[in-house]
């Protein structure tokens, strides 16, 4: 990622065409304090950024917060082969989740399609980097040899999944975690790698009767016995592990009746939930389907309490999005630290933020050609009729290859990490000195 300052002569589209598939970021996750930011890519690598702490809290002119620099890089998963089924197993990292820090070492889980793995990261020597030389935006570069981070031999949680793993979620008890594939959810103990406990199994006796698959799963942030999983049919199921050992029967099911007026060939595809996240409070659920993000109240299962249109202008273009496969894209969604703002990605390097209090949404862009370092992000607009403003982008001009699928929000501050293909953007709230 070590790119130098831009010259206007560089043809970025040329560079874009040559992005290695392996460098495409496939997951982004802050740890519990927000000091560490992990990214996983399609090549099976994990890159961890650490926030510099020296300038944090200091009142500089612009009140800058610490920047994120590369802390460690390691190869988490390698390409593998299932000999029994004659299938390649991709090394792409689907999800990374951090464990709460218990000692000086950090521990994270990363998973590909088949196998979650746990990694211990320990500083060999705590050298403080000198950040006084920072004068401009830097895409983080790896500085050789100063700081040694030892990545301990990993824990491999193998043979738990027949189908493709889409989610992992650490339990609030700090001892267990779940991993979910298309049809099953397993629960593991972090210290036991040779067996897991199956808690959900929706595989039908006859695969011809298959009507839905599991698309995402997450533990409740406070209640260690509760978890939720979403399905390709757009339903959410809340399960209570105290109820029974096998949680095939949900405690609560959340679904919204389909609007018959919106029925089309693609209704099933666009209603599939691609991501589900508990709010920090544990009271709400956030889901993302192809065109909307929805907030659900755990106390109300009849339908979402809030629905936000991410890119409703695409509804009339579903046919061409189906043709170019974009309709199958799986976008993530995130809450901010106090659950007042939700964020999700879109196309054309756009991402959307919705303020839950006002109900208003804003479109922002993660594209370096259009923004200078330390500049304030300008809001963007997709032109869908009415008065056209300067800078509006027409729907037909949207670049559907530039999709923002993965993102993370700092657990305490307004710092967001946005993955755009092989680039990672970190945006921070500009803190005014007088507010400190």
């Amino acid at each position: 990622m070590g790119e130098d300052g831009e010259s206007p002569k560089i043809n970025h589209s040329f560079l874009r065409d040559y992005v290695t598939e392996a460098d495409v970021i496939s997951t982004v996750e802050f740890n519990q304090t927000g000091d560490l930011l992990a990214t996983g890519d399609k090549g099976g690598r994990v890159v961890i950024f650490q926030r510099e702490t020296e300038s944090k809290g200091e009142c500089e002119e612009l009140g800058e917060s610490g920047e994120y620099n590369v802390y460690s890089t390691f190869q988490s998963h390698e390409p593998d082969f299932d000999y029994l089924k004659s299938l390649e197993i991709e090394e792409k990292i689907n999800k990374i989740r951090w464990l709460p820090q218990q000692n000086a070492a950090h521990f994270l889980l990363s998973t590909n399609d088949k196998r979650p793995e746990g990694y211990n990261l320990k500083d060999e020597e705590g050298r403080i980097k000198d950040v006084s030389t920072v004068t401009s935006l830097r895409v983080p570069v790896l500085k050789p040899a100063d700081l040694m981070v030892e990545v301990r031999p990993r824990r491999i949680f193998s043979n738990g999944h027949t189908y493709h793993v889409n989610s992992i979620s650490v339990n609030s008890d700090g001892e267990t975690y779940l991993s979910a594939d298309d049809l099953r959810i397993n629960m593991w103990h972090l210290d036991i790698t040779d067996r897991s406990f199956n808690i959900v199994d929706i595989k039908p006796a006859n695969m011809e009767d298959l009507t839905e698959v599991i698309t995402a799963a997450e533990f409740h942030p406070q209640h260690c016995h509760l978890f939720v999983y979403s399905s390709s049919k757009g339903t959410l199921r809340l399960c209570d592990m105290r109820d029974s050992a096998l949680c095939d029967r949900h405690s609560k099911i959340f679904e919204e009746p389909e609007d018959p007026g919106n029925r089309s060939f693609f209704s099933e595809i666009i209603s599939s939930v691609s991501d589900v996240k508990f709010s920090h409070s544990g009271r709400y659920l956030l889901t993302r389907d192809y065109l909307t993000v929805k907030v659900w109240d755990l106390h109300m299962d009849k339908g979402p309490v809030e629905t936000y249109q991410v890119h409703e202008y695409l509804r009339s273009r579903l046919c061409s999005l189906y043709e170019n496969d974009c309709i199958f894209d799986k976008f993530e969604c995130v809450w901010n630290s106090n659950d007042s703002v939700i964020m999700t990605g879109a196309y054309n390097s756009f991402f959307r933020m919705f303020d839950r209090e006002t109900g208003r949404g804003v479109t922002l862009e993660a594209w370096r050609e259009n923004s200078k370092p330390r500049a304030v992000l300008r809001t963007r607009r997709v032109y869908t009729g009415g008065r056209r403003r300067r800078g509006d982008v027409g729907v037909d001009s949207l670049d559907f290859t530039k999709k923002i699928l993965h993102m993370a929000w700092h657990p305490a501050e307004n710092i967001i990490a946005i993955a755009a293909t092989n680039n990672l953007y970190i945006f921070q709230d500009r803190v005014k000195p007088e507010n400190q």
Partner: protein, 163 residues
């Protein structure tokens, strides 16, 4: 005719996507295959209902209501067989069958051998070679006692033996 043309196009594209995803790294994605199958069903049902509505305008006849999972009387649109890989066990058949489902076989649920079939053993049904289909179908318990037309490259017996 617009709707039917669109339905056909969607069907054709879905089949193309299913076939091309077989050669994808990581194997066939169950979720994607399922969505494609649902789209195909949707398109096929809409296509047939529009055509039936047109044909049956002068006469009154019972319209076939497609159920979600079962193949009903199909005419017109031939569909080659589709299989899913990547962990699924059975061939998912979308074939035009000339026979109706008889009332005493309303529930097509079969006690599949997959319940006793451990996951970690190789499933030969996952192989997508049309020449092997007949062998696979005879071995597995299946409820698909449908005729396939010549577009499906294999002739299979009309009635399949369940376990």
């Amino acid at each position: 005719m617009d709707v039917t043309a669109e339905a056909k196009q969607i069907l054709v594209q879905a089949l193309g996507k299913m076939y091309s995803s077989r050669s994808q790294r990581g194997g066939l994605r169950l979720h994607r295959s399922l969505l494609l199958t649902l789209v195909m069903k949707s398109a096929r049902d809409i296509y047939h209902s529009v055509r039936l509505a047109k044909e049956m305008e002068p006469q009154s006849s019972q319209q076939v209501n497609p159920t979600e999972e079962e193949a009903q009387d199909r005419s017109g649109l031939p569909l080659p067989e589709v299989s899913t890989e990547g962990g699924t066990r059975d061939c998912y058949l979308l074939c035009p069958g000339k026979e109706n489902i008889s009332s005493d076989r309303v529930s097509r649920k079969r006690r599949s051998a997959t319940t006793t079939h451990p996951d970690f053993l190789p499933c030969k049904k996952a192989k997508l070679e049309f020449t092997e289909v007949s062998r696979v179908l005879q071995r597995s318990s299946t409820n698909c006692g449908r005729e396939m037309d010549s577009l499906c490259l294999v002739q299979v017996p009309r009635t399949m033996v369940s376990y």
